[in-house]
Symmetry: D2
Subunit: 364 residues, 4 copies
């Protein structure tokens, strides 16, 4: 039940309901001596913020992050970094209908099944608003990873059937953020944009796929057997709301290939470093990073909240028709981009902070 903590060494615990007083979190395990760029954390949050464009919910949240501990003269001290985001534009009254009817494909029914009661205001803890705290923590993790540097960028590859037909690669974030839909190809982005607006006009919603690429991860991160790096990434990414599929490296395509066509031959790069000639492994072999880019594709279902009347039942099991109010994104993909990056950053920094695996790496 204590399910609100992510990570083993860089440990993030989040809290807060969508329409309660505040959301926030505690980061425990951040090494001392990081000069934290709070403005950069705020920028990361701004990328996730509602109300950025016509594509996102009309809810207005300034999402100003306040750090409450763990900093002294601008530096991390090794003690917990607590942070808070006050909820501002809460409209609990919008959710009165949800007390008396389960929203289809939402968590209303299952929360009741588990807890016997729930906070019906905007989904409570099940709201995607919870992900803002992941972005804060992920932004701190990124500032650590920047010292290697490890670079992580995600982008929208597909909205419904509108897809960018180009192999995954590390784009610049400026290129990704150039369009509200966060697809780094302007033409495809325009089509995606149109598709989302049309769905919104119809009171409907769309899903799609996000690709995330991490470069600069050294060979040797991750662990065998149950804590394989891909298993840790999967746990991180499948904890996001609305995920329906995940692929790594060659993904589904790779499962149609023969071994002789699929294997990544070893070779050396110009500096004599051992590397692979191809990257169907997606940067991980045997659960451990091999120094190549980590490449993951993640699929999201269409937003569950739509403006259509829907068949449902009351908590007592009586049939009813639900007409949702509330303010919601017609497509979660654009705002999912910084959240996906955050979860990858959190997973990677946790792998980086793992205890030494060799006797000669132990502190003397």
């Amino acid at each position: 039940m204590a399910a609100n903590t992510f990570g083993e060494h860089f440990r993030v615990t989040t809290f807060g309901e969508s329409h309660g007083p505040a959301i926030g979190g505690v980061i425990d395990g951040c090494p001392a001596g990081l000069r934290l760029d709070v403005a950069a954390v705020q920028s990361a949050l701004d990328r996730r913020r509602p109300g950025q464009s016509a594509l996102t919910t009309a809810r207005k949240e300034s999402d100003r992050v306040e750090f409450l501990s763990g900093l002294y003269e601008g530096q991390t001290t090794g003690t917990p970094l607590a942070f808070l985001l006050r909820n501002e534009d809460a409209r609990p009254q919008d959710y009165d209908a949800m007390k008396s009817a389960y929203r289809p494909s939402h968590a209303d029914f299952t929360y009741d099944a588990r807890y016997g009661l729930r906070d019906p205001r905007g989904g409570g803890r099940a709201s995607a608003r919870e992900t803002a705290c992941r972005v804060v923590a992920g932004a701190v993790a990124e500032q650590l990873l920047a010292h290697l540097p490890v670079r992580i960028t995600a982008y929208v590859e597909r909205v419904a059937a509108v897809a960018l037909n180009a192999p995954p690669r590390l784009y610049e974030r400026t290129a990704v953020d150039a369009t509200p839909v966060r697809c780094p190809d302007e033409d495809v982005a325009a089509q995606m944009n149109a598709a989302i607006l049309e769905a919104a006009r119809q009171g409907d919603s769309l899903g799609g796929a996000v690709v995330v690429v991490a470069e600069g991860v050294p060979a040797g991160w991750g662990s065998p057997v149950f804590d394989k790096l891909q298993a840790q990434l999967a746990a991180a990414l499948w904890s996001l709301p609305a995920v329906k599929f995940m692929e790594i490296g060659s993904g589904m395509d790779g499962t149609f290939a023969t071994g002789s066509a699929h294997n990544d031959a070893f070779t050396t790069d110009s500096s004599g470093q051992i590397t692979t000639a191809s990257n169907r492994s997606g940067g991980i072999q045997g659960g451990i990073s091999n120094g190549m880019p980590i490449v993951i594709r993640l699929g999201f279902k269409p937003t569950a909240t739509i403006q259509h009347p829907q068949q449902s039942v009351t908590p007592a099991g009586e049939a009813t028709v639900l007409e949702a109010k509330g303010r919601h994104d017609p497509c979660v993909l654009p705002r999912a981009v910084p959240i996906v990056e955050a979860m990858v950053a959190l997973t990677l920094v946790d792998a980086w902070l793992a205890p030494p695996a060799r006797l000669d790496q132990l502190r003397r």
Copy 2:
């Protein structure tokens, strides 16, 4: 680094190298009072055992499981269940070539990167032989789940491009085991069989997809936010070797749909129980089970070990050509079936054993 433990409440720790003296594990947290059917555990192992058919490696391992603790007069006592499988048909000499060349798409290079040394005999700990211990633990978990009952069956849905075109459902295990390839449709199974044998004849290998379905999971298992049930299942399943993609419920298809087409309307069943009219959610909403079948598709890449000469490098970075010996499956899918079931069983029993989530469920 302590990566060999799975589960929080039903906790399995495994050990052992492919060509060392033994493999085994310790199950901690199994409730007392289970009359353990050791023969049923052995049967589960036999389904995974090498040498079952022409489709699998010629390595001969009887894989007799020995329980060393935690049982008194046939019942579990609540103390750790330790078990052991002695390795019998080890041929470490087959692996001499692997000391001097990294096998493409294997863990040789990454283990060296992490640990500075490795056990080269048959992949050591990175061998798929490790999964036998998962099957033992999973079989114990299944015996617990049988008390509800929860039923779990996996099957091979696709080998390379040869696919069973039928929606996922819970087949009988006898139907699955009726063919060596473990596809419950005889005709498709025959085609799969032929495809694998042809690949083997060419010294090559194939991948594909396994579907797993769990029925009988009550509504209310799993937790919000980071420990969502699908995240736990993902962590479990992505810890298996060779996984390239995973889908839940509507999966990739669902990400092409609109929200109005994708949502699962609530209704009641004949007994008045709240349920959903469709199951695109795959049995989980908001990270918590909703009582519908849990449906997952898992893709495996073609086996990395092939009989073709392959470009590689030595640990010193010199180019070399690797000619693999060793005995390997040309397709991991048939033997993956019991392993996938085991990981699902382990995840579900862990969710079942979670502490009470409501005040009125606390022990008095």
Copy 3:
């Protein structure tokens, strides 16, 4: 490093420095359906608050607790309970001397050794102010335990050489709180009071012993081997600042006895329940509660901060004389009472929330 979380099932994560903006915490795993009495939580905090009497530091902190999440219409929802206490009477300038000299028997030097830097304002995270968050969480835990009921009371048994000569037992909290020193015997309390005031007058400090008793714990809580209930209690209590010894049951005296004199004979009580005729075991046998009162004695050293000039060194290792300012308790014992109770409550509720240990206790 991620050392700010206590408990496995009822999991408390705390944060905050003595002179930063706030301290607080997150409770994860509290079952849903508890009607939280926030006023009772505040009362618990008030018992720990500085400035209660002449015996405690002059620092003025109202220590008003604010809950930020996890409550809906006054009830816990099973989601994280976050709480905040703003720091009010911070005087960081009092601590300038501590930047340039290590306070003897404080954490200044060791924090520098571990983190390479530290927050020197009032000990930062090492301040006993951190324990306020334990009291909040412990008060929530107590409200759960009250449903059994389990009752926990601590009291000051000894200040320096002034001791209450009576066997440990469960006093009423009103009796304990009747004197500022929190010894339930008025005469002894008066002597303790005088001793502390005299030490304070001399700019010095005193230590002593606290006894804590928990009644109503059913037989069967705790686990064998590494997680014995006494080991969990020890981990909890030894995490408090200034602890120098701990005894359970017969304690040190018991180690002078023979087995025939020390064993607790089994018998039955008036209701036919199995119990023991004596309680030298202190309520725990084999790491598991036996239904008798849990009895622990805990010794605290004299407060390290004194008003005497003390020999010390600068971080550069140069000899210096430290003249402490700051506001401190001349004796931590009176305020330790609610903190000790809190740690016992947190440990016991965690034991209560443990997953079921028997097949027939599993949820159906």
Copy 4:
């Protein structure tokens, strides 16, 4: 319930009942590259072995340790080290009486209360035989710590009222092992020996105190707040059977002192290193090691199994008289010495393996 694992980074999981087929364990997280001296591990076990002298149980166990995994050409590989000790001299029939009567101050009743059933043969999992596995794991930990070097020695300071009156210090193990009672003073040892033999002659048992000292621990190990180094040590040591009290540094004496007399003044040693002039802190300040010796005293009650007839009850609650058979130590102290050392070693190696606490310590 999953209570059989110790440590977070150097993680030991043990299993096995006193009169089952075997006991053993799995060490996960041991860094790669340790040339394991298996003979030294066996020597450590031999120090704990029953039947060493007239002071210990007559049970004959050769306690030969067999390592099953994690080693390649004599070196650890970073994968789990599993080990096994077969039980040889099991006499389950000696324990028939225990099925029908609870042994006073044993775990029979509480195991029944928790699990609803138990393995009555020799205490099953509650037997002190379980500690043999701690010694194996501790011996591996010691071999890691020897690289600093950290040195740990325990000794018997007191048996009942026969005490060594000398301040705790690090003795040579040869001096400790020179007498069967493991007190480094020959005269005192002889008195202890006589006292134990006399108690045995009377069918009775004695308790006492063990001191353990660890030298060479660098400043900076351990963590603030809940994971203080003394809290970790307390959790480790209080998980041993029969512990009744624990003191650190000045211990109980220190709680009678004034702050001005108790504080450890900082100074520098001959090499300019910051150190303290006294060691009342016992090597730990603010939960973090300060470079001084860690000094702990641990008290053990008299062995619960005695040869006197004792009042007890049957599981049904009927009064009965128990006449114990079985073979038991009249005093656990001499054999506790290597076990205490093992738990300290396991705790310290876990602290050593903690993730880096500073940005500049992260692996590049």
